[in-house]
Amino acid sequence: MKAKTAQTGTVGQAIPRTEGSAKVTGRAEYVHNLQLPGMLYGKIHRSTIAHGRIRRVDTTAAQALEGVHRVVTGEDIRAAVSDPHYGPAFHDQPILAFEKVRYAGEPVAVVLATDPHVAEEAAARIVVEYEELPAVFDEVEAMTSKAVVHEVLKPAGTFPDLKHLQGRRNTNVALDYRLRRGDVEAAFKKADHVFEHTFRTQQVLHVPLEPFVTVVEPGESGVTIHTSSQSPSFVRIEIARLLGWPENRIRVKVPYLGGGFGAKLYIKLEALVTVLALITRRPVKIALTMEEQFYTITKHAATLRIKSGVTKDGRITARACEVWWNGGAYADIGPRVTQKSGFTAPGPYDIEHVHIDSYALYTNLPPAGALRGFGIPQLVWAYEGHTDMIARALKMDPVEFRRRNLLVNGRPQATGTVMKDAAIDTVLERAAARMEWGKPCDPGTGTIRRGRGIAIGFKASISPTTSVAIVNLYADGSCALYCGTVDMGQGSDTAMAQIVSEILGVPIGSVTVVHPDTDVTPYDMATLGSRSTYHMGHAVRLAAEDARDKLMALTREVGLSAETAPIRDVFRKKYGMQAGNIVGTGTFIPTYTPTDHDTGQSANVTPFWMIGATGAEVEVDTETGQVRVTRLVNVADAGTPINPRIVETQLSGAAIMQLGFTLSEKMEFSAGQCTNASLAAYRIPGMLDIPPGIENEAVESAERGGPFGAKGVGETGTFGVSPAIASAIEDAVGVRLMSLPITPEAVFRALRAKQGNPLKDN
């Protein structure tokens, strides 16, 4: 720890996770463990119908139950907050439903009691009378349905590209995003072949093993919100807006999260629990059950139509994509998914003529938002399935067909932004090499048939977003990093500490990462979209460099040698004792050019691109339709990893999560009511479902704009999994599945249909 810092070599090392030991020994801090004196527990009464007017909320029986402190309805909330609607894109979601309910499971009333079991029992005794309204569940039907979910559209005003929707009536379209490049219709006419396919994906859930939980403590002049959130800064700003308070009266604290995956973004329980605490003047806690997570936020089901014009030698000349996103009853961040992911709908291919229409739709289902990939896995499912089917129809090798059309650095993407530092070709080649694509694959025998498939996808980082960091160097040479990035299991504490350690030349153990506390840690847009390593990583680097420069200046000022003086001697010489601080700050926001409303064109649409390819080998049981994934190869461009081991586990974790979305997970609905809302009835992959061969590779790459050449990786492993498996199944048994999930029954039915003997239901 000399004043003149030397590179420690920490960055680029597979440093063990700094919080690992606390977690496995049960010592890590979570909001679920928090109890405060006088705290009330809230339990939510939820709508039993998908769409209807609330005629009456009868709380008599609930209020009469011994131990009940208070029952709160939507009307009570409205009396406390003049406009109780929140949301990041639209101010459309009421803190508790009033006048109308828009999905089965929507919060309608809350019971508060000191005993959570009493609150739960009382919540079950609330009786709500509804006048049922026609409901719409399908995203394509929602385009034209008579059932309208919201009377009027209310964009939040945060995003300029939603302003044109202000005040629109009688529509379920929450965003109609379009991109136009060249002339697709003319190109289709000239093409040797035109292919068109429609794909579907299902509604699924994040399933963080720690369900949503918020505790709010009312204070003298403000509130403290302890919450399991990925976006503490957003929570503060949005609560301040709802209450009409300045930001400094709201303190948001976030410890570790037991998983987030995009579920715990924006406002979830925070507005409700804050208002309950203000009404009762008592600390209030609401901790959802695993079952209630199914009624909170989900991943978009989508219908995707994709059409391509291709020359006879295998060049894609034109592609038209129409995407309908099923956003559920409240917009959440769905309109951003529609746009920010929508513009990559043609895939990582160099196509002259592109036409995209991407629609965010309201329906009467639980809301959909961000989930590990922000819409990209749905798009890749369509464009890689489509691409593979074209290659097969042209009797071309699927990898070779992709090679001929790949988007390379220096060429414009569909938005017009010229690609840079995007190792699309390297990622494809490494995946193909690991799969030994050039060699034939064992086709299997008897009732077990083998096949393989490969798929590649890409994602633009969401832009423009801001991160701020502070490094506080103490007088003994140890330091703290104040950083709003939420470590929800992705390992950001370790990676950020590595950056500080590297720049200040101090051991990793001398760096404490102070968890988000909006009274202490500075602004960060949110922990989402694989943005933290790049954006916060930059801010942390700048803050550490600022601290280092100030330390150098102080060393010179006190007349010590930067080469030999320990840091503590510099402070001691300056202050006469172990005293004082050096505070370094860093702020980062990348450059950005907004997209044109009519054409979707932008010269600078993203700070960086994430690229992921997956190769899959499968065995298909031809008698039962069962699919066993025997090998999953995940290759990514993650820039130059700050911590290669964490990058590897992010890739495998993301791929396994997407494996569940591919083969088994699906929220089932009956008249809008989710019928499998539990871990017993909604199956995520267990250890026995993990493919025996799972390999992960971050290719040699460097993101010149990123800290130490790094870029984001949290979602990349999801991109290629589903279409690679579907292509491997086609390779094995000659049937193409175009809807997710690929259940054994779906494969069996496809096999029987191919044999001309479709399975009859009787």
């Binding site: 079991h117 079950a124 069962q626 499998n676 199956r683 267990g686 479902d689 399975l759 009859k760």
Partner: protein
């Protein structure tokens, strides 16, 4: 969930007496894995749970008596899985136990609770019925013996009265009989099955003398497939015979669809799994 009373009687008979009122809000609690799920779903709202954890120690014993394997009702599924006695007397039970749900469930779930719950997706009922097991019950007056094959009355319904508890399961030893249990899960590996097929065969050379075949999960109750048993009796189980047995099973079984698969699909699975289970039994060393 409203607060409920938990009582912990010291004998099974005392437990049966505590259940004698027939009040549906008073229920027995063994391992609790099914009870907890039903309480979380709100379909069971007990006023009192009668815990069986403190009943006689012999209810947790595995032993051999009178040429039979005897399993106490409070034996956990993991104890069953690890028991050398079970491995010796009825190895098919050990093989089936290893694939049953997951290790956390197996560590607490009990044999008696597993059988009395009467969810058709349970794995042991078809295996034990195929082996010819019976249960001995205790009630306030005494008790009785019920062949397991006749225990099940419908979905989540048994012939047990509300004050009657399973005390012990008697399983004829497997001996030279060849047996297999195959199940098909359609979502995750540790999901409840879409279909289970248990097969126990008396063989002579490579011919089947007698077959006992039971289907579960695809039907409302675990069901003997006598038509398929008949097709195998006295025959060599070649592809033709197996196909005939599968057809007979699919035609006779009252297959119902659920979240694991449609009835039409499960009927196809039954054909395939029946043949595979017979083949696996014949290939086993007994």
């Amino acid at each position: 969930m409203i607060p409920f009373e938990l009582v912990e009687p010291r004998t099974l008979r005392e437990a049966a007496s505590l259940l004698a009122s027939g009040d549906p809000a008073v229920r027995p609690l063994a391992g609790g894995t099914a009870v907890m799920l039903m309480m979380k779903m709100g379909v069971l709202r007990p006023a009192r749970l009668v815990s069986l954890r403190a009943v006689e120690r012999r209810c947790s014993e595995i032993r051999e008596a009178d040429g039979e394997l005897r399993l106490g009702a409070m034996v956990t599924l993991s104890a069953l899985e690890r028991s050398p006695i079970v491995k010796n007397l009825a190895p098919v039970i050990v093989r089936a136990s290893r694939t049953l749900s997951n290790v956390r469930v197996r560590n607490v779930a009990t044999v008696g609770g597993h059988l009395a719950h009467a969810d058709p997706h349970m794995d042991l009922p078809p295996v034990l019925i195929a082996l010819g097991a019976s249960v001995t019950t205790v009630d306030p007056e005494g008790g009785r013996t019920i062949p397991l094959e006749t225990l099940y009355a419908g979905y989540l319904e048994t012939a047990l009265r509300s004050n009657e508890l399973i005390a012990e399961v008697s399983v004829p030893v497997q001996g030279v009989r060849r047996a297999a249990y195959l199940k098909c899960t359609t979502r995750s590996a540790d999901d409840w099955p879409a279909l289970g097929v248990a097969v126990v065969l008396d063989t002579e050379g490579d011919a089947v003398r007698e077959a006992r075949i039971v289907v579960s999960a695809a039907t409302d109750t675990p069901t003997r497939l006598s038509a398929a048993e008949e097709a195998l009796r006295g025959a060599r189980a070649d592809e033709k015979i197996l196909r005939r047995a599968g057809e007979a099973a699919a035609a006779a079984a009252n297959v119902v669809g659920d979240e694991h698969g449609s009835a039409a699909y499960k009927r196809e699975l039954l054909r395939v799994y029946l043949a595979r289970a017979v083949k696996q039994a014949l290939a086993s060393k007994g």
